[in-house]
Symmetry: C2
Subunit: 377 residues, 2 copies
């Protein structure tokens, strides 16, 4: 069974909602998108995964059983979402943004408000510093407007400065605001009006549950969605070590085009973009530079993110023997290693290794990195 083709009954959404809404002490053991996919792949569906979760976490050595969102709580969230005009779209469903689906850590469930069709347009992310200069704002307007008129949806983060200018210049043809918090927790609050202007032709998108107040660390996490949605990311102004550079890095990792607007070396707001250009980002002075790069790849379907089908029976039983588990755990350290290496070194089957990793993760003892690497916490 391929994960992408899995049906998404409401129970799977419960699992997702549970996964996205950690509470109290179990925060560390809540599975992220990769774990979610591993669970679904291993158990063949949300219901058996949910059922197996407490036992898995216990076997992995966790002290507390993971707290799972109740059916009632999930139903309440779905109801509240409907009142707000928010629809949940799960990965694998036709409304799920196609390119976003291909990233390594695509969110299992998106909360979407507005005109969902705008997510089917080819998108370009336009981001930059909150503390933007007048010149930066002007350039953003020119670039976002021209991209929008050329048929691209402009994606950004609804932040002050460059982000807001990018949205404002592309309201008419569809612009996508990617939120770091829940759909009812707009940040910054003064951009609620801007969001209202975005929704008629565009949409707002979040992977976080309703009621989620965005924390500082949710913004970099959110940035992977901005780049993941898009064919390419344009950085207009960015100081050194700014959030926009995180988006650029994520975009590069995701195989997205990275564009940067050059600026004077004497302008600190151009340090980040000039640095990106030095590293190989495409320099951009007008939208035509972006369109020239993206037009040729517009029609090309991305390779589907590879899902390794589990070998053997996809059941909750077939748990590893204690010594097999101990052997695999002994191979792990704080240094990230690949699943392939673990399989080779342990002489266990990939299915067993994955299961042990799942157990460890649910017990809060494992960290997953990009590229299929894992390390012990």
């Amino acid at each position: 069974m391929s994960f992408h083709r899995a049906p998404f009954p409401v129970l799977r959404r419960y699992l997702t909602l549970a996964a996205s809404r950690p509470r109290g002490g179990v925060c560390a053991i809540i599975p992220g998108p990769r774990t979610f996919r591993a669970l679904i792949n291993h158990f063949g569906g949300a219901r058996p995964a949910l059922a197996a979760l407490p036992d898995l976490a216990r076997r992995g050595g966790g002290s507390a059983a993971p707290q799972i969102c109740s059916r009632e709580a999930a139903a309440r969230e779905i109801e509240a979402a409907e009142e707000l005009g928010v629809a949940f779209v799960a990965i694998g469903e036709s409304d799920y943004p196609q390119r976003l689906q291909m990233i390594d850590d695509a969110p299992p469930l998106l909360a979407i408000r507005g005109r969902r069709e705008s997510l089917q347009m080819p998108a370009v992310a336009v981001v930059g510093s909150r503390n933007a200069s007048a010149a930066g704002i002007k350039l953003t307007q020119m670039i976002a407007r021209d991209l929008s008129e050329a048929g691209f949806a402009v994606a950004s983060g609804l932040a002050r400065g460059i982000d807001a200018a990018a949205h404002r210049a592309s309201l008419g043809n569809g612009t996508i605001a990617v939120l770091a918090g829940g759909q009812d927790r707009i940040y910054p609050p003064e951009h609620t009006d801007l969001l209202d202007e975005i929704l008629p032709a565009g949409c707002a998108l979040s992977e976080m549950p309703l009621g989620w107040e965005p924390r500082a660390r949710d913004f970099p996490r959110r940035n992977r969605l901005i780049s993941g949605l898009a064919l390419g990311v344009v950085i207009v102004e960015a100081a050194k070590r700014s959030g926009s550079l995180i988006t650029a890095r994520l975009a590069a990792e995701q195989g997205r085009e990275v564009f940067a607007v050059p600026g004077s070396p004497l302008d600190p707001r151009a340090e980040g973009t000039n640095g990106l250009i030095k590293q190989g980002a495409t320099p951009v002075t007008e939208a035509a530079d972006i369109i020239a790069v993206l037009q040729p790849i517009l029609g090309i379907a991305e390779p589907a993110h590879e899902i390794e089908p589990d070998d053997g029976a996809r059941t909750a039983d077939g748990a590893p023997e204690a010594d097999e588990r101990a052997h695999i755990v002994a191979l792990l350290s704080p240094t990230p290693v690949s699943l392939d290496d673990l399989v080779r070194l342990s002489n266990s089957s990939p299915r067993i290794v994955r299961l042990v990793l799942l157990e460890l993760e649910l017990a809060g003892r494992l960290q997953r990195h990009g590229g299929g690497l894992v390390s012990l916490l």
Copy 2:
């Protein structure tokens, strides 16, 4: 006999001086550096080339014999040069700048003033707009100073704006001013004082004869020397279609590194440099960016410019038959063609084809282009 190893007696300098100083109606038939090389290669020295010149031009169909600088006039120029502290250095001599010698159209003779040793330093050209901004001047100072302190000679064109700032910031360790006119015709005149400050540690260099007032078209011609002297060319500020972009193009053709300082797309003085970066120039915000690229190639000798030895006897006789000449001429048109193609299509020997081309050139009927291409005027 290889051209590079040819001795350079004073007569060869006469030939050069003659070649560099067209007078009146013979302006069009004066050989340039490539013709000079072809003449020397064909006849084995300046004296036989000089002797053959009138006959060659006549056979090529020229109406007037090329006027040749007299021995007396050349002696007068050499004397005047000595009074001004100018030394003539011919290609192939040890004082001739090594990298400049390798370009396709290296001047046969350079007039040099100042500290000639500065021409043996690794050089970086720093050029840009005359109408420079304060930011451009400041950046130029920073970059030129740091390059100078890192042991590079800064080469530039003594122009207003970026050029002057580049020279001023590198006076102490040797900076090279490349002139478009003769050594006694400094342009702009108000930079005579700057030149005086350059000479103690650096030098001024010209391929033009004394007394030569620089014309508009001498500046682009001069620009090939600025880039040819250097390992790389840094363009600091440049509007569209500016002279600095010509230098950048020549640098690229000569296999030199091209560096450009980025600027805001809203700044017209950054249009040229941003355009260069889009075309692949290395973006530069500080001297370290340049040094990082040049350091690895510092010790590497450039491949010597290939001189094709003439086949057969290197004598003034062995002239082509009239129908052979007519056949070669018939193959020529205003569309540039290569020597190889002419040899192949004419069934004549390369030596004969070269000789016919020389005749045509001396008769003012041939134009030589880069890459060994020629066309009929």
